[in-house]
Point group: C2
Chain length 211, copies 2
DNA sequence: CGATTACCTTGACCCAGATCAACCTTGCGA
DNA sequence: TCGCAAGGTTGATCTGGGTCAAGGTAATCG
């Protein structure tokens, strides 16, 4: 019934428009959903971390490009049998609905970020989002200084945030200079004061920011 | 079981954080979901037209402000009984899942618009989105010139698109000057050539753009 | 009918972030 | 161990859209 698939970092999982033959959830690693315009402008529209569901029951073709950003393991179901199972097992549809509603809320937070936040706020928000997802996954309590591994390059962060990679780099440097974050290499970030970071992110208190 | 509620144009339906006591779908009129930052920056995150579902089964408090933008009629269910019905009637959860997945796709198109499109493309996209939704509703075939009533003020369009109202006004004037649209009053738009408009919108061909 | 109010347009100027360009750092494979 | 490629930083300059400001238009109400 279910089976596992592995992908290498950088490998495309499916292209927009391709027929989808499976659905599944991320077990390990990071995948992204992106849209591309004909002239090459790109926007990330989904960041899939372990436990996220990928695919769209009831649709024949993929709407977005899906790419593994790290080595990735997915737990997959062939789409047809999965749809049949959904029809006969109400619990599955209900669970999937719950997950989809959470994802929709997250997308709406993301829309606020894209439409109204400054570059600095966008970077702070992204780090906060990854930190929160990370914490939820590892159940590691947020005591003292939190530390996070960024699963994305500067360019991928730019695609997430609707910025250019140069602006991402500059704003990360600025947050570091101001002591909001501490860098250890390019990918590893420590957060001495989470409230300070959330303030920089422009989130009132905390908000939803579920994914 | 179900009952109808009416709201006047401009009336708030629910504020973010308030307890939700009902869910329902729009029968007539237009409602919006918006998010507001403490300093007043606002981003629309949902535009609800007739047939759209409003509310979140399985969540106690509203995540966003919901406002009637025109006189509005909704078909409502008290939330608790609706949730019970969902648990016992699989078909409902499945239908709601389908609608939520469509909304998520639409949100992802919207993210591309917010993150990567120019002001002119944003305006053209918005007009195209409303025209498509309109056409789907009225089943009026898109022959020759299409015409659309904008249910939003310039300011509300700005909140939709992540722009200021001045930029919205300027870009509408520019599209008019270039013959892409024809204005009849402030709210009524004729589209002489839909393909031209879609080109201006930066949509490759047509895309999803479901809501 | 004139006045108020809500909405819209247009102009002048400014600035956050894009663009263009040079260079640095790190890791890997021959 | 050298060379190259991928990723990252930083500087200089430009520009699309924001901001500030001044009217214009049209519906509504004494």
């Amino acid at each position: 019934m279910k089976y596992y698939r592995s992908f290498q970092a950088g490998q495309s999982i499916i292209w927009a428009g391709d027929p989808m033959e499976f659905v599944g959830s991320v077990v390990n690693g990071v995948a992204t959903l992106t849209q591309t315009m004909e002239d090459g402008r790109r926007q990330m529209v989904g960041l899939m971390l372990p436990s996220d569901f990928v695919g769209r029951p009831g649709r024949a073709a993929a709407a977005f490009d899906v790419t593994a950003k790290t080595d990735l393991v997915m737990c997959c179901f062939r789409k047809k049998p999965f749809e049949a199972m959904m029809a006969t097992t109400p619990h599955i549809a209900q669970r999937l609905l719950e997950m989809t509603l959470d994802e929709l809320d997250a997308a709406r937070e993301w829309m606020l970020l894209l439409g109204r936040k400054t570059a600095r706020e966008k970077i702070a928000s992204l780090i906060a989002i990854i930190a929160r997802r990370d914490a939820a996954l590892h159940l590691r309590a947020a005591k003292g200084g939190i530390s996070v591994d960024l699963p994305l390059t500067r360019e991928e962060m730019a695609d997430y945030l609707g910025l250019t990679l140069e602006t991402v780099s500059r704003q990360i440097s600025a947050l570091k200079k101001d002591g909001v974050i501490i860098l250890d290499g390019n990918r590893h970030v420590s957060i001495p004061d989470l409230n300070r970071l959330l303030e920089e992110a422009g989130d009132d208190g905390d908000g939803g920011m579920l994914a």
